[in-house]
């Protein structure tokens, strides 16, 4: 079980530690005042990676090999120089810069691939590193894929890769989810890519494009580590599940209080158990009836329990971003953080929650380490 939680916020990376049963406290902060978009721990060597968005000064990447005591700035991906005179526009006619805007996902390779990291970024570039993030290479085949030009911004102005799933059985098979641009999978370490959105539905799109791969707006996608044929996906349109290794997806309907939301996590040992944080779609993006709740299914989406013990149940408008819900490797401890700076932790799979804080800057991501 994990006794430490990293909270990536608009104004720093905060660390919380468990002091005993049901007692967690904030204990430190790195990069105070800086915008930390996400943090990742590499399970192969324990290194921590923090993605910063300095605004004026650009996106940066920091690495710590001593659990946050010291950090070193490492390399960042570079987009290629566009052809002379090339101005790229998305399908709505908006310019897409060939320039790193922000990190949106960091994922390690398999234990058999030491040093291999994947980075998903805005405006839609996927990069890989073979040297623990010191240097990065663009996955050219995906960037130059004709369908990539049909991706568009979702919550952000430009499209972005926010979920990367490396198949635990075969590290060459990598899936990415794009907001807004569907799910794409390579079987050969990035050389070729195909869309995997069969069964998804985008009812916000024009009728002709409801089923088009590029219309799909996955908000977050996860693959069960111990049963990797099972995937869960929180989509702009609702919740989808695959039990055939992302070859097809089945929509889960009639989920109360809402099928809309951003994050999803799946139990590491039980593919039928997953958690979501529902919100009202579409433009409002607030908890239903001002109540913060977590939805849990333990039967593959046939039924859901709405968990609320310990969570505020009135006048609460916390929105939870796609990387701001995490589950530790035991599958017991959960944490989530909100745009209003609240963080809640559960030690019993979501049945009960304790409030870590209600006063942090807006939370982008939480990560058990």
């Amino acid at each position: 079980m994990s006794d430490q939680l990293l909270v990536s916020t608009r104004k720093g990376l905060f660390s919380a530690r468990r002091q005993g049963k049901g007692a967690w406290v904030l204990e430190g902060v790195s990069f105070l005042g800086d915008n930390v978009s996400l943090t990742m721990q590499d399970p192969r060597d324990g290194a921590w990676y923090a993605a910063l968005d300095h605004g004026h000064f650009g996106a940066k990447l920091q690495r710590s090999r001593d659990r946050g005591a010291t950090w070193e700035e490492i390399g960042v991906p570079a987009y290629p120089t566009p052809p002379e005179g090339h101005v790229e526009k998305d399908f709505l006619g908006r310019e897409i810069p060939w320039r790193l805007i922000r990190f949106w996902c960091l994922t390690p390779g398999l234990p058999s691939q030491p040093g291999l990291l994947w980075a998903g970024t805005l405006p839609g570039g996927l990069f890989w590193s073979e040297d623990h993030g010191d240097t990065w290479n663009l996955v050219e085949a995906l960037w130059h894929h004709p369908a990539r030009r049909k991706w568009a911004g979702g919550g952000a102005d430009a499209p972005g890769i926010h979920s990367i799933c490396v198949d635990p059985r075969d590290g060459n098979r990598v899936a990415v989810a794009v907001s807004s641009g569907g799910v794409w999978i390579t079987p050969d370490l990035g050389k070729t890519w195909t869309a995997h959105t069969e069964g998804m539905r985008a009812d916000y799109a024009p009728p002709e494009l409801v089923s088009a791969p590029e219309s799909q707006d996955p908000h977050r996608m996860v693959q069960c580590p111990s049963a990797p044929d099972t995937w869960w996906l929180q989509h702009h349109n609702g919740i989808f599940r695959s039990t055939d290794n992302a070859m097809s997806w089945i929509e889960i309907v009639d989920v109360k209080p809402s099928v809309f939301g951003f994050p999803v996590v799946v139990h590491p040992k039980d593919p039928d158990t997953a958690w979501f944080v529902p919100a009202i779609k579409d433009e409002r993006r607030i908890p239903a009836e001002g109540k913060v709740v977590v939805n849990r299914t333990r039967d593959g989406g046939r039924t859901f329990e709405t968990l609320h013990r310990g969570l505020p149940q009135s006048w609460s408008y916390d929105l939870v971003y796609r990387h701001a819900l995490d589950l530790d490797t035991s599958g017991k401890r959960l944490a989530f953080g909100s745009t209003t700076g609240s963080v809640w932790i559960s030690e019993n799979s979501g049945d009960d929650w304790l409030t870590l804080t209600e006063h942090l800057p807006p939370v982008h991501a939480v990560t058990f380490v």
């Binding site: 004026h56 000064f57 650009g58 940066k60 960042v76 320039r99 790193l100």
Partner: protein, 89 residues
């Protein structure tokens, strides 16, 4: 020799005291300064060598016009000042 100075806000991330350089354009002067502080390059310029959108460069108090090519002239006794643009208020 022209002098290149950087905003205090950059010093928090990369130590970069003012320096005297050889260079007749902003590009030449800046490249010379960034050779002294290589980590600073990505804070000021994007991956294509253009000035970042929210950064500004002044030569003797006059903002440069060529943000892509950095071809603005830098006289021998000039000061090149690199700062963050005050975009956003």
């Amino acid at each position: 020799m022209p002098r290149v100075a950087f905003t205090r806000n950059l010093q928090r991330h990369v130590a970069c005291p003012p320096c005297a350089v050889i260079g007749g354009t902003v590009r030449e002067s800046l490249d010379a300064a960034l050779a002294l502080y290589p980590k600073l390059r990505g804070y000021v310029l994007d991956e294509h060598g253009a000035l970042r959108f929210h950064m500004a460069i002044y030569v003797d108090g006059v903002p440069i016009m060529d943000r892509q090519g950095l071809s603005d002239a830098v006289p021998e006794t000039s000061e090149v000042f690199v700062m963050q643009a005050l975009s956003g208020g």
